[in-house]
C-alpha cells in the first residue's frame, strides 16, 4: 500500500497493510507537524505534491529497501494539503522477520523519501510563509 491522501492518515490501516505472519517486527515511523521550526512558531504546514510521480518514487524507495533488507511488506501514506500542529504528514510501516533490519529499513525509507520524492512543505508562521528546501 502506497498512498497520497488529502484526508487524515489512518495509522492503523497503514500498520495493518504491513502485517505479515512470517514477521516478528513491524517498525513504524510517523512524521508529525511540530509547533516550531527554525526558531519560529508554526501555525500550520501546507504540502504540495506531484502525486502520481510521488507514488512511483515511493515504490522505488521501498523496492530499494527490499533489496537491502529482508522487508516482507511495507506500507507508506503521505498527506497533502493543509496540516495542523500534531497531525501526521507521513506514516511508514515495514514488516521484517527480525527487528534490527526493521529499524534500518524504516529509517532508509524516510531518509530517501525526503531526498527524492516530489513532495514539498510550506511552513506558515506568523510572519510569513516559506517553502522548505531541505535534504535533512
Amino acid at each position: 500500500m502506497i498512498e497520497m491522501c488529502e484526508e487524515k492518515i489512518d495509522v492503523q490501516k497503514v500498520i495493518d497493510a504491513a502485517q505479515a505472519e512470517d514477521c516478528g517486527a513491524v517498525t513504524v515511523f510517523l512524521g508529525t507537524v511540530r509547533n516550531h521550526s527554525r526558531g519560529k512558531e508554526i501555525i500550520r504546514l501546507e504540502y504540495d505534491a506531484y502525486p502520481e510521480m510521488a507514488v512511483k518514487m515511493i515504490q522505488k524507495v521501498v523496492d530499494e529497501a527490499k533489496e537491502k533488507w529482508d522487508v516482507r511488506k511495507a506500507a507508506v501514506a503521505h498527506r497533502t494539503g493543509i496540516l495542523a500542529i500534531g497531525e501526521i504528514a507521513v506514516a511508514i510501516a515495514v514488516a521484517t522477520p527480525h527487528r534490527q533490519e526493521g529499524f534500518e529499513a524504516c529509517k532508509y525509507i524516510i531518509d530517501r523519501l525526503k531526498q527524492v520524492v516530489p513532495i514539498w512543505k510550506k511552513e506558515v508562521a506568523f510572519d510569513g510563509e516559506t517553502w522548505i528546501e531541505e535534504h535533512a
Partner: protein, 86 residues
C-alpha cells in the same frame, strides 16, 4: 517547402514554481527535435519570473531527466524544486 513540425508538451509546476508561474500546468508548443534545455529556455523567455527558481530538477514522464533529454510530442515534463516531504 515542408511545414515546420512542432511538439506539444504538458509542463507541471509545484511549490514555489507553481507560485512563480501562477499556475500548476501549462501546455507548451516547441519546434521539433527539442530537449529539456530548449523547454527551459522557452519557459525563461515567456515567464521571466521562472528565473527566480534557482534550483530544480526536471522529470520527464515521471522520471528524473537530464537537460539533454529529447522531448517527444505528448511528454509530461515537471519542474521539481528541492523536495521537502516527510
Amino acid at each position: 517547402m515542408d511545414d515546420i513540425k512542432t511538439l506539444n508538451v504538458k509542463v507541471k509546476f509545484f511549490a514555489l514554481g507553481r507560485e512563480l508561474i501562477g499556475q500548476g500546468e501549462l501546455q507548451l508548443q516547441l519546434p521539433e527535435n527539442n530537449s529539456v534545455a530548449g523547454l527551459i529556455e522557452k519557459l525563461k523567455e515567456e515567464y521571466p519570473r521562472f528565473a527566480q527558481l534557482n534550483s530544480y530538477l526536471v522529470a520527464v514522464n515521471m522520471e528524473y531527466a537530464g537537460v539533454d533529454t529529447e522531448l517527444k510530442d505528448g511528454d509530461e515534463v515537471a519542474i521539481i524544486p528541492p523536495v521537502s516531504g516527510g
